[in-house]
């Protein structure tokens, strides 16, 4: 498997009042062409920051990429010029954000906002861009696209706006689409539609997708592989099937147990909804040498407080960073 996008030993630091905090700590993962990879974790785990790092949009100051590399088809984006990065953004790598209500500019029509990307990257004329924008609106299943193109964002519902965002992101047929919690702000029924759409349009344009989410349910539905992040570190990685059935890290197990399920009776296998006690540590604790999950972990040992967990390669495709790995035989019913 040759990687399309390869993130290696990426460290992003933020300067805070308490000193320098690594919001992303030695993160590595690969994305294969056409693959859907999911980054999972709670809020504040560095998922969105990873996305912004790939886009070259880390807010600076206070943030900066301290070390590592991000290569797209062999080209290290961290060393690319700003001009080159502008040619990459929206063209080779594009992004859909979490808040469709505020991610579109209220003073421009959706047609203008889609067409602008096309004109910028594909050198199309206004007329060509408009025609293609209508096609894109049609592709994201917005009815009457030729009329809708003259609408302003406030005239559209949240789901419609997210479709427009996807149309903008996919207009230039990017190699990589990063979707940062694309359905978190939407109704459940609309979520399913957006996922279907992303799958269909993603397949059509052959874009590899990085889906950022905190919801293991979305992961199960969308992704092929998953990277679980906690406090800026990758703690487990593997195929979705393996991770969902045999999670080896206690945090992954906790995330899966958090997914609500519809069952008539509460059984031994499916007890009441579980929670992970505590919360993600504050940024100032991110540099801590031990395991950052230790304060919340039910399998914590003395070693966990002293040393950063070593990555264990469990199978060729699955790895986890934990001193006290969950027994593979313990299955979690997802």
């Amino acid at each position: 498997m040759t990687a399309l996008l390869s993130v290696k030993n990426l460290t992003v630091e933020f300067t805070t009042r308490d000193g320098i905090a690594p919001v992303i700590d030695d993160l590595s993962f690969d994305l294969a062409p056409g693959e859907t990879l999911s980054l999972v974790g709670e809020s504040g785990c560095g998922k969105s920051m990873t996305a912004l790092a790939i886009m070259g949009l880390i807010p600076s100051p206070p943030g900066r990429v301290a070390s590592g590399s991000i290569s797209l088809a062999g080209e290290n984006l961290l060393q690319a010029s700003e001009t080159r990065m502008r040619a990459v953004r929206g063209n080779e790598i594009s992004m859909v954000f979490q808040e469709p209500m505020t991610s579109l500019n209220p003073v421009f029509t959706v047609g203008e906002q889609i067409g602008e990307t096309l004109r910028r990257h594909q050198g199309l004329t206004r007329r060509q861009a408009k025609a293609l924008s209508i096609e894109m609106l049609d592709a994201v299943q917005i009815p009457l696209p030729a009329r809708r193109i003259n609408d302003y964002p406030h005239q559209l519902s949240g789901g419609m706006r997210q479709r427009v965002m996807i149309a903008i992101a996919l207009a230039c047929r990017p190699k990589v689409l990063i979707a940062d919690e694309p359905t978190t702000a939407l109704d459940v029924t609309v979520q399913a539609q957006i996922f279907d759409l992303m799958r269909a349009v993603g397949k059509e344009t052959e874009a590899a997708i990085i889906l950022i989410t905190h919801d293991m349910g979305s992961v199960a539905e969308m992704a092929e592989r998953v990277v679980v992040m906690y406090a800026g570190r990758k703690i487990e990685e593997g195929y979705v099937d393996d991770i969902l059935t045999r999670p080896r890290h206690p945090y992954t197990r906790g995330l899966i147990a958090c997914v609500p399920h519809l069952l008539e009776t509460v059984s031994a296998e499916r007890p009441y909804l579980q929670e992970i006690p505590g919360m993600v540590p504050p940024l100032s604790d991110f540099g801590f040498m031990g395991c950052l999950f230790a304060p919340r972990c039910d399998r914590v040992e003395t070693l966990c407080w002293q040393e950063k967990p070593k990555v264990t390669q469990i199978t060729p495709s699955q790895s986890a960073a934990c001193w006290n790995l969950q027994d593979a035989k313990v299955r979690v019913d997802a």
């Binding site: 929206g90 992004m95 209220p106 003073v107 910028r120 990257h121």
Partner: protein, 329 residues
């Protein structure tokens, strides 16, 4: 079409407002004790009751109040604002003579302060902790705190006396006869200092406002989207951010227009600019009621028109307002 309908509606409202101003003006005029007959009697050193009654009859002052009011409205509708005994001229002629100078001053000050203020605000917002940003903060603090007449006098000392780049006052150089283009240049030359004086306070206001609103907009999700599209820095700032950041500036610009008219009075006095302000001061000193009321009427006209324009500009910049109004009509 909608735009036209809304504009017409706004014009109607503006007319209503002007009518209200007229009613107030008229009542104010009659609240004050004494009338023209008393004034004439005073000037003449006393008149007998018969003559005074005759004068009242001549001026229609013996009619019931409502009839006088209708007559007054009828006259105003024909742009007849009465007669100034102090200047011995119809008030309308007097005002129309001075109005262009004032309009030139306040409109140029407004345009310059919006342009300069917004540019300074944008520069400051790009690097909120940079030197430029601190400079803008200090400039606006000083500009806002300094009284207009003080700024005016300081500018005169600096640029008319110490470094004589500009004339110290008046609108034209009366010692030389100029026409056409040369005349325009001369007026512009005279305009610089008073315009800058009047603009200083508004530059302060707009730059602070533009800085704050630009900072806000630059942190918004849609600006991040614009960046993620790979647009150039210029497009992100001036296309996507600025248009949104302008909204509060436009609102304020409309609101301060009433203030700018009264601010112009001070500036005109300092620079002996032959505008409405100078006229108003003289009329107040001379207790020339018709002239004062006429000026009041014209300045409310200016404010109403300015607000109409603000409203239209707002509608052009922000599409959300157009539809919000549509559902109402």
């Amino acid at each position: 079409m909608q735009f036209l309908a809304i504009t017409l509606k706004r014009c109607g409202l503006g007319l209503g407002l002007l009518l209200a101003v007229l009613v107030l003006n008229f009542l104010l005029m009659h609240l004050a004790p004494g009338d023209v007959a008393d004034t004439i009697a005073q000037d003449a050193g006393g008149l007998d009751a018969e003559v005074m009654a005759q004068i009242r009859k001549d001026y229609g002052l013996d009619l019931p109040l409502w009839e006088q009011m209708l007559k007054y409205f009828y006259n105003v509708a024909q742009l007849d604002l009465g007669y100034s005994f102090y200047y011995n001229q119809p008030v309308t002629t007097l005002i129309l003579e001075k109005l262009p100078a004032t309009l030139l001053l306040i409109i140029s000050a407004q345009v310059v302060s919006i342009l300069v203020g917004v540019v300074l605000g944008v520069i400051a917002a790009r690097k909120p902790n940079g030197i430029a940003s601190h400079f803008v903060t200090i400039l606006s603090l000083v500009g806002y705190a300094a009284p207009v007449f003080w700024t005016g006098i300081m500018l005169i000392i600096l640029f008319a006396s110490m470094i004589p780049l500009f004339p110290i006052g008046n609108m034209v150089d009366v010692s030389v006869e100029r026409t056409g283009f040369a005349y325009m240049i001369d007026v512009l030359h005279h305009l610089v200092l008073p315009m800058l004086t009047l603009a200083s306070i508004f530059i302060a206001l707009y730059s602070r406002l533009a800085r704050a609103s630009m900072l806000d907009v630059l942190g918004s999700d849609y600006v991040r989207t614009a960046q993620a599209k790979g647009l150039s820095e210029f497009q992100v700032v001036f296309k996507h951010a600025l248009r949104n950041a302008l909204l509060p500036v436009v609102t304020t610009a409309g609101l301060v227009f009433s203030g700018i008219v009264s601010g112009a009075v001070l500036v005109e006095t300092v620079f002996s600019w032959p505008g409405l302000g100078t006229l108003a001061v003289q009329a107040i000193v001379a207790r020339d009621t018709p002239t004062i009321l006429g000026i009041l009427f014209f300045s409310s006209l200016v404010v109403v028109v300015a607000n109409l324009l603000t409203d239209m500009v707002y509608r052009i910049i922000d599409p959300r307002i157009k539809t919000a109004e549509t559902s109402e009509i």
